[in-house]
């Protein structure tokens, strides 16, 4: 009985624990991201290298934001099941989505007075990649050039 519990109960218990905590944390994180995105909506971000020709730039700064998000046992369990059948690994999609949006937000928060961020680049890397039996984490880095205009009227 004890053997049964340690062999099957513990891994199952960790997955259930991660299912509860991971879901709560992810929900909270998404709510937080949405709130902050609304608050920083006035800073548009472009991937183009140019800024509008008509304006004169008063100041330009490089801004960056990075975040490392960990996967949990539950997400990994779902991904493992997906590995058997194929298809979209949705549990990782939401993880990477959180990472990207959080990194962009942190980048914007570095200089909230900016009027525009151009040349946005996003980079993703996997921490502890390739090592077996480890919980992976994903790192997302967002960086760009934030500018303030010289000659348009401020609200």
């Amino acid at each position: 009985m004890i053997g049964f519990l340690t062999t099957f109960g513990l891994p199952l218990g960790f997955i259930v624990l991660a299912m509860i905590t991971g879901t709560i944390l992810e929900r909270r994180h998404f709510r937080d991201i949405e709130r902050r995105e609304k608050a920083l909506r006035h800073v548009p971000v472009l991937t183009t290298r140019q800024y509008p020709d008509a304006v004169r730039v008063l100041e330009a700064r490089m801004v960056s934001g990075a975040v490392v998000v960990s996967i949990d046992h539950f997400k990994r369990f779902l991904a493992m099941l997906r590995n058997v059948f194929g298809g979209e690994v949705r549990s990782y999609c939401s993880l990477l989505d959180r990472g990207r949006r959080e990194a962009i937000l942190r980048m914007k928060e570095q200089w909230p007075q900016a009027e525009l961020i151009v040349n946005l680049r996003i980079e993703t890397s996997s921490i502890s990649q390739g090592r077996r039996k480890t919980i992976g984490s994903t790192e997302v880095l967002a960086y760009g050039t934030a500018i303030r205009y010289a000659d348009i009227p401020r609200e």
């Binding site: 099957f8 199952l12 879901t23 929900r27 995105e37 046992h73 099941l81 058997v84």
Partner: protein
């Protein structure tokens, strides 16, 4: 260049909203179960097919050399002599498969007996202590001989190897994969195993009845075990063997059937 301020409207959030993570989990687990059942049954059918092609002579040849490293004292232990006598009486019955039976003593307090491929029967020292009467011992040996007759030891070996291979190919060595594979195999295997144990019990009772002409005392081991048994009834859902009390019931029913047939 006109810039429109907006927030991202499409998100990959699967945790909130309509619980899509749980829907995904349910769907994937259902598929996994379907595939696991298919793997399990094909391994079972494949094993049965192969085992049906292995004659007793071939089995003796294949596994006859199987042995355990044992001290000479354990081999010569006087208590084994008693077992050997009972075994030679039983194995002279025509229903018992012709295998080169060998006995091996296993030092363990818990009463237990095992059938290994090639005719090797393992008895624990606890078993010999618990069963001083010949008839109780004869039934336990008859039960193991039943496993040889039905090739359960070969089937068990084939299934364990086949299912292990099948599930590890299916789930790979990914983290958690091996424990899920073990779990699937464990749950699926148990019901089959209990069914085989009951068949071996029937063989044992019938054999004892033919050789000794009576069945009183065959359930000695189980009455002893059920007296010690503190596990709740539901725990036997996960056991390889039926509960002792259930086995006593079945033995009694079958013994009555045998007596009625005379």
């Amino acid at each position: 260049m006109r810039i429109v301020h907006r927030c991202p409207d499409k998100t990959a959030d699967i945790s909130s909203a309509r619980g899509t993570a749980f829907r995904e989990l349910r769907r994937l687990l259902l598929w996994l179960l379907v595939v696991a059942v298919i793997v399990y049954f094909s391994v079972g059918l494949g094993t049965d097919f192969v085992v049906s092609r292995i004659s007793f002579a071939a089995e003796a040849k294949l596994f006859g050399t199987l042995s355990f490293a044992q001290s000479p004292d354990a081999q010569k232990a006087p208590c084994l002599g008693r077992v050997r006598r009972v075994l030679s009486v039983l194995s002279s019955d025509p229903a018992v498969p012709p295998l080169p039976y060998r006995l091996v003593l296993i030092e363990e307090r818990r009463p237990n007996a095992f059938a290994f491929p090639g005719g090797m029967i393992g008895v624990s020292s606890g078993l010999l202590e618990a069963l001083p009467e010949e008839i109780g011992l004869a039934f336990v040996l008859g039960h193991e001989l039943g496993h040889f007759q039905y090739r359960d030891h070969l089937r068990g070996l084939g299934r364990a190897v086949g299912a292990g291979l099948g599930f590890s190919l299916l789930l790979g060595g990914r983290m958690g994969g091996d424990s899920v594979a073990k779990m699937l195999h464990f749950v699926l295997q148990r019901g089959y195993s209990r069914h085989r144990e009951e068949a071996a019990d029937r063989f044992g009772v019938a054999l004892v009845y033919r050789v000794y002409g009576k069945t009183e005392g065959v359930d000695r081991l189980f009455t002893l075990l059920s007296g010690r048994d503190k596990a709740p009834a539901w725990a036997y859902m996960f056991a390889t063997h039926p509960s002792p009390s259930r086995r006593i019931e079945k033995l009694k029913a079958y013994a009555a059937e045998l007596a009625g047939r005379r």
